[in-house]
Symmetry: C2
Subunit: 188 residues, 2 copies
């Protein structure tokens, strides 16, 4: 532990109910209590499954990216493969599956890069990021409904410049790439 | 541009309506159309204001963190100061304000670190991350309703170890810290 625990005590939201279900996410409502257990007011969050993404490195030291249309901003987004972890599915298996489905690349050795909360202010789920080494193309993809991807390979040595260029807009992809660079470097 | 634009063409969601408003976010519904303009099905996203956060460095080369209770996972979270950008407020001004309100530190020189989308799969807003140099304590904080923070200072040289420890769980904070480390280093 680098930082000692704080003196402040956590609040709580003892009972949470789903007030609206939109399929990929559900809105939850719960009465917030302060650290002394006194009720404050209702707070809304949203619930969704855990997510994964994967920084896949080819034997030629290229990183596997996919272009994908994103509903939030309504534009094409340059990302690493990733997606929703199925019920009962191990995060690592989901990362291998999403890599294959979205890009057609098969992972060799795979290892955990980070295990984070996408945004604890609004949601309680987790995102698991992996590195997949020795990723090789199989030639076949399998897109989900409402998904269509186009693969792009980026030299590992260009990752820093790519991040600085602003072409990667998805913050949850950027954090995986930044962590990859700090831990494993840009290659030679 | 590091990666050439894809051959695939974007889909579209020409009309979006708000179907439920929960205060800090609103749920939006719109009929997705494919690249040829053919209607597919309704897609839900959520709308919220833009966000900011700030990596503040003291003259003694410490980074300013705040502990804060987060509703999503229901636990205390170790983060850099940040929050919602007010209507009409410049992102840089919001970063200075949030730093002061949450930690009591006043920024000296401030510069943009990254300008990203928190999660384009679900939401259309942006998050602006800043570095604040020469941040000094003023001794006074001003918490929002439903907010209470406790400041913690972390040596800049420990940031990498802190990230690897898993104590920083908020991915949007982690991406700012990782980008800071890659651009500006851990000091000496």
């Amino acid at each position: 532990m680098i930082v000692p625990p704080p003196a402040m005590r956590p609040w709580s939201r003892p009972r949470v109910e789903i007030v609206a279900d939109f399929g990929i996410f559900a809105v939850e409502k719960g009465l917030l209590h302060d650290a002394a257990g006194q009720p404050m007011r209702d707070v809304f969050t949203f619930g969704c499954r855990n997510w994964c993404n994967v920084v896949a490195v080819t034997p030629a030291q290229e990183i596997v990216f996919v272009w994908q249309y994103r509903f939030g901003p309504g534009e094409l987004s340059l990302e690493v493969p990733g997606g929703v972890i199925d019920p009962g599915e191990a995060p690592e298996a989901a990362a291998r599956r999403e890599l294959l489905e979205e890009s057609g690349f098969e992972a060799g050795k795979i290892e955990l890069l980070s295990d984070l909360q996408p945004n604890p202010a609004l949601q309680g789920n987790r995102i698991y990021s992996y590195v997949a080494w020795d990723a090789v193309p199989t030639g076949s993809t399998a897109f989900d409904e409402l998904e269509e991807c186009e693969t792009a390979l980026v030299p590992r040595s260009s990752l820093g410049a790519l991040l600085d260029s602003g072409q990667v807009q998805h913050a949850l992809v950027a954090v995986a790439l930044e962590t990859f660079l700090r831990r494993h470097g840009a290659g030679t």
